[in-house]
């Protein structure tokens, strides 16, 4: 077994192999520490160590830990919300399976983030850390309509928050992939909740969500009339605290006005500002996400959730 031939062959089928090892020289330096007289018996553990270094989890930056713990906090916010909704017994038999599936998705996301963060993860805050009435302003467990209004808010906020975390995670591909693969599931949830809110797939939505956001499309349209519960949710569709987090009615992507830039494929189809805002979801920065989410933390038992460091 010729280790150098093996590595050369490996690099041929996995062209980025040396990139993962930082450099060809580093591979040889690593092997060199074992001495040039590598015995057959030593090879397996030697190579295994090499591949673990290259493909195993790299240390998380402080910034990555911050955005991942914020994501984890939001997952707990959602998880305990769906659990409470299911306990309240307000769902029809037809809708029950969907809410159980969403709850299980959030539980899985909690587990995934805890596994990545390991000892850096926040403690489970517990259900009592959340006040879903926002100090008595809403009663989300009174009926399905009230429940869905806040569920839409949480899901749309989650999509914006995950999107806002992506660039921080760019240097850690394994973690980035998890964030992406949770992000799109949250978007699927959001779409389903929105469909239910307008009355199902047979009911047409309205641009901008219609009056009081009572007829949301399955995608975010303009500013959603400030959301399903305007006092609590207007900021979810508004701008963040940094230029990279514009409001959801933004039409400019990469300095291109996407509406002006596009041509309708059909004379019967008019491209609108609403459609151009819908076609791109916007991220939200950590500070603004915390400010919004803090409305749903229990007074006196915050467990440190959504506190800006």
């Amino acid at each position: 077994m010729n280790v150098f031939k093996l590595l050369t062959n490996f690099a041929r089928v996995a062209p980025d192999a040396y990139g993962r090892f930082s450099s060809r020289r580093r591979v040889f330096r690593y092997l060199g520490t074992a001495g040039w007289a590598i015995t057959h018996a030593a090879l397996p553990s030697l190579l295994s160590g090499l591949f673990q270094k290259a493909y195993g989890q790299t240390a998380l930056s402080g910034e990555a830990i911050t955005v991942l713990n914020l994501a984890l906090s939001l997952e707990y916010l959602e998880l305990y919300y769906y659990r409470a909704g299911l306990n309240a017994g307000i769902f029809s038999a037809a809708d029950l399976a969907a809410f159980e599936a969403i709850r299980d998705d959030e539980q899985g996301h909690v587990a995934a983030l805890r596994a990545i963060l390991d000892t850096a993860a926040i403690p489970d805050p517990g259900a009592a850390a959340f006040d879903y009435t926002a100090g008595g302003q809403v009663q989300p467990f009174a009926n399905v309509t009230s429940f869905l209004a806040l569920a839409q808010a949480f899901e749309d906020l989650g999509v914006r928050a995950y999107k806002g975390s992506l660039t921080t995670l760019l240097s850690n591909k394994a973690v980035l992939r998890v964030a992406l693969n949770i992000h799109s599931v949250e978007a699927r949830h959001a779409a389903h909740i929105r469909t239910l809110r307008r009355g199902g797939v047979g009911v047409a939505g309205a641009d901008g969500g219609g009056p009081s956001d009572s007829l949301p499309t399955s995608w975010v349209s303009l500013r959603e009339s400030n959301g399903s519960l305007p006092i609590l949710t207007a900021a979810i569709y508004g701008p963040g605290t940094v230029a990279a987090s514009p409001a959801e009615d933004n039409l400019v992507q990469a300095r291109v006005n996407v509406l002006v830039n596009s041509t309708s494929p059909s004379p019967n189809l008019v491209l609108t500002a609403a459609a151009a805002s819908e076609a791109f979801d916007e991220p939200l920065d950590t500070q603004q996400v915390r400010t919004i989410a803090r409305q749903f933390v229990a007074a006196g038992n915050s467990q440190g959730l959504f506190i800006t460091k």
């Binding site: 999107k163 992506l166 693969n181 992000h183």
Partner: protein
Amino acid sequence: MATLALAGCSKDGVNPGATDVGNGDIGVLNFAYALEQIEAVFYAKVLTGDYFTKLATTSAEYQIFSDLARHEQLHVDFLRTVLSTSAIKVLTINLDEQIDFGTGLTKPGSGKMGVLNAARMFEDLGVAAYNGAASFLTTADYLLLIGKIVSVEARHAALIRDLLVASGDTTLGTGFAGADVVDSKTRQEITITPANVLTKINTFLGADSQLTATKLA
């Protein structure tokens, strides 16, 4: 040596006359541009078909397919502008052989079911493809752009799946996030590699428009 066994891919399957989407940012954006070209052509064709043209203009499905056509046209025009001179060509796209745009509104195999099933396939594939390709990006701004688009594709996919469930499809689980697209253990989106995505979409592309993504692997 399990790690080595996983790296057993070869270039034997590469199509010699194909266009490669490229490397890094350009590769991912061109890959996205190809997906959006197919989606945009598909929905534009839906708008002229029997299923759509017989819908009441006030109906939910009329609104949904109008929005989908708008969104994908906005995506494709935007990506072409961003890619500028690095863009791959406008692709030759053949949909009729595989997709039933025919008449009739309710029966399986009718125009409606043909359109819904094809829309579901393209939207789910788009989400899996964007998620699978995004980690090959090197520039943060482009990663954010792809993130802005992929969640919209996921919203599309969820609604189309819910529409199919409401139309009697029993194969999609809970619909919006069934186990065929969201892993039932990890509860995360199931991704598809760029090469495997292109194997699927090349069947909709003409002989002069076959694509490879050899650098996105």
